[in-house]
């Protein structure tokens, strides 16, 4: 590992941090394959190290969003515990899939389904106003008012949503923001910046549980995580600041573009895996 390798890691951190701050995602879906593909880091170490750096990036971006007054801490609080529980269940599901020898294809198909669902949620927001969405119409008690989002939602439905996000993040080794941001946009009618600010708060809990699980198994390279953090913590704050300034419609379309890009990359990877 020479100086050029470490310089590449810093640049990678800057890029991933910016995307994380802009869209309220952890960035694991970008970081993990890039670390494995271009830097020769074993995939399981990339996942563990990615979660560890996400802890720092989400802290910095979360503080920035709170200072800008964007995000819904009450929703993040409702989501946090079920998401942490879901993450542990997701990790168990990976163990079961691995034992059957179908993990590789099963995980890729689950990821594709997740991307389609997230894309549909983002497209639905185009016709909605703030505070309206399928989560606001569910009458499952108790219903709670989210002051920053100006919406009354079913807290239990939101908690089940958190469980699902956590499960998928544990299953796919991602933070879960890729799914949560679209749920908040399509389900509650939040604006993109508001959804990103909420999502990044939730990522803190899933990253904490994920890092604990991965570090216990010896899959976190702390020096690598810290070098990634040098760039990602600062660029995540620039991303958060830009998210608040950008036209929400432009931001929504950019996120849709990002989803489409990942969808095509996973699809390509699936075909390549099948043809082997």
């Amino acid at each position: 590992m020479d100086a050029l390798w470490w310089a590449g890691i810093v640049v990678l951190g800057i890029g991933v941090g910016f995307v994380a701050g802009l869209f309220g995602v952890g960035g694991g879906f970008l970081l993990n394959p890039l670390l494995a593909l271009f830097f020769g880091v074993p995939m399981e170490v990339a996942v563990g190290t990615g979660l560890c750096q996400m802890l720092g990036t989400a802290t910095a971006a979360g503080i920035r969003y709170r200072k800008l007054g964007v995000g819904e801490p009450k929703a993040a609080l409702i989501l946090a515990l079920p998401a942490a529980l879901g993450a542990l269940l997701g990790k168990k599901a990976v163990d079961v899939l691995s034992a059957t020898g179908r993990a590789e294809i099963g995980l890729r198909l689950a990821f594709l389904a997740l991307l389609v669902f997230a894309g549909v949620q983002m497209l639905r927001r185009g016709t909605k106003t703030a505070g309206s969405g399928w989560l606001t119409r569910l009458s499952l008690p108790p219903r709670v008012f989210l002051p920053e989002a100006c919406a009354t939602v079913s807290a239990s439905a939101l908690a089940y949503g958190g469980l699902l996000v956590g499960f998928l993040s544990g299953l796919l080794g991602i933070g879960g923001g890729l799914l949560l941001t679209p749920i908040l946009v399509g389900g509650i009618g939040m604006g993109m910046a508001q959804a990103s600010g909420t999502s990044i708060l939730l990522l803190l809990s899933s990253a904490l549980v994920g890092t604990w699980a991965q570090a216990s198994a010896g899959r976190v390279n702390l020096p690598l995580a810290l070098v990634l953090l040098i760039g990602s913590t600062l660029s995540a704050q620039f991303g958060a600041q830009l998210a608040v300034r950008l036209n929400p419609e432009k931001l929504r379309r950019a996120f849709l573009g990002l989803l489409l890009f990942i969808f095509l990359a996973v699809l390509f990877d699936l075909f390549r895996h099948q043809s082997r």
Partner: protein
């Protein structure tokens, strides 16, 4: 390094650095806005 110490470092160092980076970002932003600005966002030179 013992496993428990490594685990604690993995859980504590990244968020602490996140807080430090947030302060650093504030300091950088403040140094860029040293010129006085009025209510309409105009600089007084």
């Amino acid at each position: 390094m013992p496993d428990a110490v490594y685990l604690i470092l993995c859980l504590v160092v990244p968020p602490v650095w996140g807080v430090v980076a947030s302060r650093l970002f504030d300091a950088l932003s403040a140094s860029r806005k040293t010129k006085p600005v009025d209510d309409e966002g105009m600089y007084h030179i």
